[in-house]
Point group: C2
């Protein structure tokens, strides 16, 4: 099923409705926003098997994964709704007047208010959790913003079903017309028109560097620049520290064979670069990982474009100076053609592959720093710890970095540990980067180019803050203030009153 | 006294030192950072009269104002130091592991860490509070970032004295070499080189739209874009609501004559547009404000460039269609020449001036929306409340908006109130926008073009968050975590543990 691209006029009409809705929705209470989000979760559940089957046919993702992802999306909606109502994110703050100070200190009270209509671009690899009713949409609704979703063309029909679930929830909750819109557009013009529209006040995106950076540039080139939060993936470096590697080369290899090939490597947290120091233990690791990869069957990727890009980028990496193939899945290369896979719509399989190169090769060649989206990793063999530190310092910003390390490894290698910490949003010890827990303490984002603003993240309720801004009320009488800032604290929320966190009323 | 512009090589050396210092300073405890900031406050006090006299000669600002501003700067350093150590801004958050969840939930803990070296551009109109050791510098030090100040050429010698105070404090506190640098540059090349340098990770600026927007664009055009927080001033609209105006036209006129001319109008919070509905009360207000302005003597502006720009922008506004002069200071126009003022260095006086125009004229003419930096305001006469709402909806983003209103005015004009609230960072009732209280609940920033990112502000300890980013630690053992995130909460800070704010240890 294909959908017609929205015209400039249709986009303008959508944005005008969103703008009108904004003026109504931002006055809705936190409780009303939360109820709306929870209603969307219910509708998403009510979509039943039809939604799963549509997503399976559009994305080649397996049923269990999609059921799990829908459950996660429902959890996100419900947990961000709870966070919305709890209002810690509002950062409510009150400084009471001191009339006899010179000059007199006025009463000042601050809280976050919504930015305005938010345009959300869904991800190809997460048709539910990072798409139409995903984390960006939930965060924007919680913040008090209408949402305009640009459907991902690779799963436009899935997106349409989810959009209808949102619209149904909006109707049941008496939301204003324009609170949500669903826009189709396979060409870049639709995306550009949405980002450039004067009524758009923020953008959320998950996807490629090229796509995210373009949206970011458009957002900044507007007459009125707007924040564009683009999560653009990364290579998620893994540092194998000497003592740990010596003790556990085989276990680490097994663990990482699983992480590299999980979901056919189609995660922005996929470990793409694994760094160790030349040693017998590293050779064991390379050998064991290679063996495990050989035994991992190729699986169908999301769509033809992703599979073709994977093959091209992987082949290009393997062509670079000093890069050597370690192993690939023993299922023959023919698996990379559609005829070899069972998917009746003709998906393309991604061949699990491991390469290797020296630390110097990585330091010399920017191509090796680039993400190869799929079941691929390159093992970097450093000549010593000093070179490993150089590598850490020369890597770009990352969503995650991982240390495989004993306590001694960490205590004895402070410079390395600090360098690795400085480039990432999430810092993992003795585990794998794949799997992004949805909770307040999660950080999904990182220094550029992992995301366009390291100060925010797109998973967990703190993501709400991307779409809100502080406003200070000065000298307002109590009855005219929003409930969040009234003396008596009718919502019983946490507030900082004269520099102290409290739920108490202002006396 | 003039200073030579830094060369590209000198800037590179400065930034390399800052980068090296960053790796050391970010590991300093909150207590150490706070002690350093408090030591700067002491050194600033120790600069004594010499600093005040230098600032007087460079800025034409009166002694009492400068003494007050230094006291405020010292208060900022001390209060942000307290906030730094208290660590609420760190947003420490802990989600403990749930091993028997499917899949298992890992232990995840999050806190803010510093971005890296911050370049600060001081303001011409605040040689202390928004300059070398001002709010941006204090915020960056609190966040854990080294600071590079580009001295404002209009008070370069004052800046040099303050820089030496910071350097002296840094030495006394054993801060790493490179924690602070002071760079001179009258041309734009120095500023550009600082913003574009790869080791620069954020920028703070207070000043004109032209200057701030240029820095913002440079920051976004880098290979690795960085956040540029520019506070660029605004016209700070004041809405005179009917019932309030009828009751208090004369008092409001007196209050605003003072606010418009305070500090020769050289505040970014100066009220530049005052909006009312045609009525007898509005005529009274215009008349009374005009009379009060006639009686206000011109005073010397910061420097020749500011005075010339004021005259040019004011004259240009008065030349626009349907704009009429209401009143100007009765001291003759000769006061705008240096010969008429007492300052021996030859300052230029700014002539207090009030103009008026219709609501339609403002709606039609973008020139009238622009800030005229100096003791000038235009009174906008709307034909009815509907036109006042149109005006509110058509104004750009503002640092502040003010309502002069009774409770009835507010209750009966919800659309207007919401429109006014939506464009500002600080929303004032029945007071004046000049005077920015330094406290946590202050918001000094606002929707573009008031600032480049409405989600942050530059006054109050929340300004620290501009220069920090969250990092999540996953699966770390307790003894390897930073103190802020250890189970036992050794710093006794507020943290969100499993979604609940608490100071308790994790059991």
């Amino acid at each position: 099923m294909t959908y017609k691209d929205f015209s400039a006029e249709e986009i303008d009409a959508v944005m005008q409705e969103a703008w009108d809705a904004f003026h109504l929705y931002r006055k809705f209470s936190l409780k009303q926003r939360a109820a709306f989000m929870k209603a969307i979760a219910v509708e998403l559940e009510n979509c039943g098997d039809a939604l799963i089957h549509t997503a399976m046919s559009e994305t080649n993702l397996p049923e269990a994964r999609l059921r799990g992802e829908r459950a996660r999306t429902i959890f996100q909606l419900n947990s961000y709704a709870d966070a919305c109502e709890k209002a810690d994110w509002l950062a409510a703050s009150i400084d009471t007047a001191i009339p006899d100070k010179v000059p007199p200190k006025p009463d000042i009270r601050k809280m976050l208010v919504p930015l305005g209509p938010v345009v959300v671009f869904g991800a190809s690899n997460f048709p539910f959790a990072y798409s139409t009713a995903g984390g960006d949409t939930a965060s924007a609704f919680a913040a008090g913003c209408p949402v305009i979703v640009k459907a991902h063309p690779a799963h436009a029909q899935t997106s349409e079903i989810v959009a209808n679930a949102i619209i149904s929830a909006a109707e049941k909750c008496d939301m204003p017309k324009g609170i949500f819109a669903h826009v189709h557009g396979a060409g870049f013009e639709v995306g550009k028109a949405l980002v450039m529209h004067p009524h758009t006040k923020a953008v959320g995106f998950t996807g490629s560097y090229t796509g995210g950076k373009q949206l970011f540039d458009w957002g900044n080139q507007r007459k009125e620049p707007i924040p564009v939060f683009a999560e653009m993936g990364s290579v998620n470096p893994v540092f194998l520290m000497p003592e740990k590697l010596t003790a556990s080369a085989n276990e680490i290899a097994t663990m990482y064979a699983g992480s590299i090939t999980l979901g056919v490597g189609q995660f922005c947290t996929n470990p793409g670069i694994i760094i160790g120091v030349e040693s017998e233990a590293l050779q064991t690791f390379v050998h064991d990982l290679g063996k495990a990869i050989q035994k991992t069957a190729p699986a169908v990727m999301l769509h033809e474009g992703i599979a073709a890009a994977y093959k091209k980028n992987k082949d290009n990496a393997l062509l670079q100076d000093d890069v050597h193939l370690v192993a690939e899945s023993e299922t023959s290369a023919a698996a990379e053609t559609p005829s070899s896979v069972t998917n009746p719509d003709g998906g393309f399989a991604g061949l699990p592959t491991i390469a290797t190169a020296t630390g110097q090769a990585l330091l010399n060649n920017p191509v090796l720093h680039q993400e190869v989206f799929g079941p691929y990793a390159i093992i970097i063999r450093c000549k010593d710890m000093a070179e490993m530190i150089e590598v850490a310092k020369n890597l770009e910003g990352q969503l995650t970095s991982t240390l495989m390390a004993t306590e001694n490894d960490i205590i004895n290698n402070d410079t390395l540990v600090e360098a690795v910490k400085n480039i990432c949003g999430r810092f993992i010890l003795n585990s794998v980067p794949t799997g992004v827990e949805v909770c307040l303490s999660m950080q999904h984002g990182g220094p550029f180019p992992a995301s366009t603003d390291a100060r925010f993240g797109s998973v967990g309720a703190d993501g709400i803050k991307r779409f809100a801004r502080p406003i200070a009320f000065q000298n307002w009488s109590n009855n005219l203030l929003p409930d969040e800032l009234k003396d008596e604290n009718p919502l019983n929320i946490w507030r900082t009153v004269n520099n102290e966190l409290t739920r108490a009323a202002v006396l």
